[in-house]
Symmetry: C2
């Protein structure tokens, strides 16, 4: 019973009004004028609304099925997947040299939001392929690129990432999967991998697995790990498909959500694989993909919140229950719509202000990646590296929270599967876990990213926020927004100082506050986005361009975020300052 | 794969050390010495661990099944239910006059936590019967009590509450179910009710439905509503079962969780019913049950968090992943257990400090109900009335949040159904919705409960917290706990002043802050509980009684709650002070 309306107007606003993609001067952005991006988004949105969204609940209800080593995806998934391929959406931002469309990554990201919101489980199949293809593009030999990329970019073949094993998830140093060198230069891969999204399915003729494994001579821990290309079906010299490789699906998992995506146990039994990148340098090779992959998961978090918010707002406008405290607003009806009630609006405004802020932050991050990749802009690369754990961790924690809030608007109907809100909550839950659980994101932020460029990168971010505050003050319409954002920034700076001071001498104090710091950082980052969006809307109002209602609502929503979300920063700072004493006090058996 | 260990030591601590039930002097509490309550809890806990818990995942996986008008509960439910009945647990606190055991309600509540934690869906069948029986006990004629209560108290018959209709949940004034008076003094009931928990099942020979319906002459809105007893099977003069009544199950809902409990659409088609209580006074009759019913749902919230926390703590002690930042703690193993990591401990301490605080608050609330019912103590009744929306709303919001946090400790395994954490999250979710969605609890608190006794009741609560702070200061071991609790109390007082000022002149300002106020109140209430528990533990340490480790851990956990949970009160106050302007700013179509 869920529906999906592509947020074209808001995506256009972020791309054109706020980020100014058509005039940003990045190589390959010349054609990205408003008409062009609108045409791309509209077509992608049509596919999302008409093809992907109608299969969302089907996928949840049917799930995937394993029979005799073959995984069957839900009814309709194959036909919809084929439309994704035919439209060129699987290779939108890929290199034309290998069949891609060469579009900016930020456009791929905007399209990705819609496809993920409409059907997260289905969209993951091409999402995993995209990640694997990016790794081959970054680390493969020219021969490997020619062999694998064209069919992955066209969507004819799928791709996966194989990291986790039963006894090791976060701690990949415990890995047992082995790679034995063969005389022909290939490797023989043996071991078991779990939680492999899209590990086996009936959507493509071949699946290109990227597998982390230990080759001889690499030493202990993650240092000994290398990355291998292990196809499901071997490819002949002429490019045609040959024999099945020694890789098979052991079972598929019964999960809380994303039922339409097959999460597989994969068994490698002397499978033929080829080294991708350098020997014993598999971890760094995976990590070069990490910013993109984690940004993609952050996107899932807010995209599911966006879907949930659309449903909840429609329900609140439609469902009649109770009367407005200030007098009936629907006097001829038996009751007023839910949306007259302040507590319902509070939930909807939380969702709206989060979703629009998160959309801006994710697209802003994607644009930094475009700057990094297309312009070799090291500053942009460092900025997005700093923000990546925030985008992944904060947006998925909050995305789930907002999906739960949207479900709450439905009252009892929110708990009934037919209404679709339960699925959104169940689907959104995974984004907090995979691609590095959110606690790991927080540790990455505190333990690694604060030290980027000797700590200068975080200072550069503070300057960005500080100058946004000055810009707000200079605009009469927006001046009241400056103070709450400045206050939040000061708290972030204070917390950063605490970590700088404690990091080495009392590491448990620092690590105890890591998650609170990630949330504090996330609120300031969304505050920055709201400042930038409010400025874009204020400018549009001054110029008399665009829809006045839209820009008025944008500025009102910015006010909401500053007034009612930024106060969380005080809580997070107080918790950080509490340190680790009470966290480390109990012996393990007392929990 | 979940297990359940009854928290006998902690329940005994709350009942005996903190609440002092054996010496509290309430009528009928004379026998409640430590040995007796330990014996009761141990036996109830054995049933929970050995009989109910093993069926928890079975119930989730199988769900209920409707065939030809009969609802089949999951395998094993009937046998387990019969053991609940045979042990006398269904009537533990009921009047011996009608077959009950006459135990204190607070003991029934402590037992209820264990039975709910072990198997929430199964425990709901007797929980609904308990609620219906309480309503008949409070409002029935002597004849009605003799007819219905003995079989309900023994568990031979079930009971339900029928309020919701498809078009009305919260707003019962929209009700359409009709009651036509008959010549024999009975009523003919016609209409449809939805979301009826335990509405039909195979556990009992009869089900006694309590149904809200409109009888002629009552006028519009909820004023015209009356309450009726409508049995599934009519009862003959001699007490034997007669013909089927005109009530049937239309369908059962497919829900996010509590799959083992049948949530039914009930069709009343000229069913025979008898007025319970006064004509057109059905709403007040339902509301006299509300404190108990809502306390029972608050209990579900923290009981599921308790179950989740037990699993997460065990997993964190067992699962090896990574190394402690301060040096290996399991140097002979391949990695350290998860529990060495501060961010894992943060999640576990959040859960532990919440669960133990919530357990204390719920049992404290139950004891006030005992005082009210057994001693006619109006002060206790008003105190628990004030706290009821907090117990229901705060404990279920936080209980769900803590279940999600416990799931997060498992990483990817938390998302896989076999591990059981997904079920706990899905089951816990309903408690935020039913028995009055949590937004309604917040409105009840702000709109009704603050005005109790002309506002004096909330002042009395503040005094209670204030004197607890003084007691903390007077104990050297606990003095540092006083300041954070005093700060939280001041914020609660400031917020209360805001509502008093705005309530009438700007009601949207007040209603916009209702949920934040409920959470602010909840944190102060748990802070009060932690103050009382810390004092009990400090006294035990001084006296050298009890287990030193247990009491040391209790005080350390109190410190944690004060340091890391009470800072949320600043955030809630700031949000409350932000008022309603940004919440009411947007037109409905702009959401």
């Amino acid at each position: 019973m869920t529906s999906y309306t592509p947020p074209i107007q808001d995506l256009q606003f972020v791309l054109q009004d706020m980020l100014g993609v058509s005039a940003c001067g990045i190589t390959g952005f010349d054609d990205m004028d408003a008409d062009t991006t609108a045409a791309i988004l509209t077509e992608a949105g049509r596919l999302a609304a008409e093809v992907l969204a109608p299969l969302n609940q089907v996928g949840d209800a049917q799930g995937c099925r394993l029979e005799n080593g073959i995984v069957y995806t839900p009814e309709g998934f194959k036909a919809a997947y084929d439309q994704l391929c035919e439209g060129g959406w699987t290779g939108l931002d890929m290199d034309p040299e290998y069949g891609g469309q060469g579009m900016p990554y930020v456009i791929h990201t905007a399209v990705g939001e819609m496809h993920c919101a409409a059907n997260m489980a289905l969209n993951m199949y091409s999402g995993l392929t995209h990640g694997a293809a990016s790794a081959i593009y970054a680390h493969g030999t020219e021969d490997q690129k020619r062999t694998w990329l064209p069919n992955m970019i066209s969507g004819a073949w799928g791709g996966t990432m194989n990291l986790t094993e039963p006894h090791c998830g976060t701690d990949l140093g415990l890995m047992r999967t082995k790679a034995e060198p063969q005389e022909d230069g290939s490797y023989s891969i043996t071991g078991q991998k779990i939680f492999i999204s899209a590990g086996e399915h009936d959507l493509t003729d071949n699946i290109v697995h990227l597998v982390l494994a230990k080759a001889p001579g690499g030493g202990a821990g993650t240092k000994g790990v290398s990355l291998f290309i292990v196809p499901k079906v071997l490819v002949n010299e002429d490019g045609s498909l040959g024999a099945r490789n020694g890789v098979s699906v052991g079972s598929i998992e019964h999960k809380m959500g994303i039922h339409g995506n097959a999460t597989c146990v994969m068994n490698y039994d002397g499978a033929k694989g080829w080294l991708l990148g350098e020997l014993h340098r598999g971890m760094p090779a995976m990590f070069t993909m990490m910013n993109e992959a984690r940004l993609g998961v952050g996107l899932q978090g807010y995209a599911q919140a966006a879907l949930a918010h659309e449903q909840a707002a429609a329900y609140a406008r439609d469902r009649l229950q109770g009367r407005a405290v200030t007098g009936a607003e629907n006097p001829d009806g038996p009751a007023d719509p839910l949306i007259v009630h302040p507590d319902i609006r509070r939930m909807l405004m939380d969702q709206k202000s989060f979703v629009e802020g998160a959309r801006a932050l994710t697209l802003w991050g994607a644009l930094q990646l475009d700057r990094a990749h297309r312009e070799g802009d090291a500053e942009a690369e460092a900025l997005v590296s700093l923000l990546t754990p925030v985008i992944k961790g904060f947006l998925t924690d909050k995305g789930f929270e907002m999906a739960v809030a949207a479900q709450q608007v439905y009252g009892g109907h929110g708990y009934i599967e037919e209404w679709g809100m339960s699925q959104i909550v169940r689907d959104a839950r995974i984004a907090m876990i995979y691609e590095g659980a959110n606690g790991i994101q927080a540790l990455d932020l505190v333990g690694r990213k604060l030290a980027l460029n000797g700590g200068k990168q975080v200072m550069a971010f503070f300057e960005l926020v500080g100058s946004a505050c000055e810009d707000l003050r200079a605009d009469e319409r927006l001046a009241p927004l400056a103070e709450p954002l400045e206050g939040a920034l000061k708290r972030l700076q204070a917390a950063t100082g605490y970590f700088a001071e404690r990091g080495m001498k009392a590491p448990n104090d620092a690590l105890s506050g890591a998650t609170d710091y990630m949330h504090l950082f996330g609120h300031v980052a969304l505050g920055l986005m709201w400042a930038q969006m409010a400025r874009a809307s204020s400018a549009a109002l001054d110029a008399g361009t665009g829809a006045r209602d839209f820009h008025d609502a944008k500025i009102a929503t910015a006010r909401y975020y500053m007034a009612r979300q930024l106060p969380a920063t005080s809580m997070h700072l107080a918790r950080i300052h509490a340190g680790g004493e009470t966290i480390m006090a109990l012996p393990a058996e007392a929990f």
